[in-house]
Symmetry: C2
Subunit: 142 residues, 2 copies
Amino acid sequence: MIIMTRMHYTRDNMAGLLRGHDINPTHQRIEIAHALFSRQEHLSADQVMAIVNTRHSETSKATVYNTLKLFLEKGLVREVIVDPSKVFYDPNTSPHHHLYEVDSGKLSDIDATQVQISGLPPLPAGMVTEGIDLIVRVRRTD
Amino acid sequence: MIIMTRMHYTRDNMAGLLRGHDINPTHQRIEIAHALFSRQEHLSADQVMAIVNTRHSETSKATVYNTLKLFLEKGLVREVIVDPSKVFYDPNTSPHHHLYEVDSGKLSDIDATQVQISGLPPLPAGMVTEGIDLIVRVRRTD
DNA sequence: CATCAATCTGGACTTTGTCTAATTTCCGGA
DNA sequence: TCCGGAAATTAGACAAAGTCCAGATTGATG
């Protein structure tokens, strides 16, 4: 596992990041990784596509979806399911939770090191935890 | 608010439940409520539609979606967002969390009274919590 | 019975995501 | 450098969930 701390998210460094996660760094993959990591934001597939194709159309829809799925499998990004209509991809894979502003759709991180979850019942036999998602849904007081 | 404890979820009782939540009890709404409450399960919109229309086609897709949204607004059911491809509706509105079996898509409840969540940071100003969703994603050990 | 508001309906439409077959790119070896 | 094959990308057809709308139905009230 490669951890990049306080580093510029240049396209060159993206290539290294991808290699470190066993991903063949192609043009398209580098662009997609760059979109996610340089922003450090939660992006949906169509947002990624829009960013990557701003200048000239470069990357197809199929590739964006394939690549995000690949990144997910390789542990490079996390999937965040908060909005019924689209999946977000999160370049932050360290343990954290999410704050979701229902009206605006804005999604932000909550550091997990401060948060304690206790009293969860034992898992059914033959099951392992794949992850615990904690989502705080908030709304503007109006 | 009406709480129905240890009661048969007959269609007649559904009418009362709906009225208690300020919902005009029509045929279709009673059928949909009955589908959810008699099973006490998490159902997606298309599952509800399939159940309601088993005998003869009775209720349109639009009505199923409208009705579930209405139930949600009136606090009769809860929305559970765990599967990127469909929303589940949960007739259990008492505080609880969810256990989601990733492979099978099976969703079950975790009673919230045992579970403690502490150390959450204060909310941004002008925000109120609408709900906290805790989802434990599990997978079969194979 | 007539009226009016509430509800329901079919079906067209949108959006997110998947699939496939054909093409392009990349890389190692002759 | 050229060749061959594997990996990656592509366009576009397709699928599924959900929305929208204009017209039809229902049901309560006078």
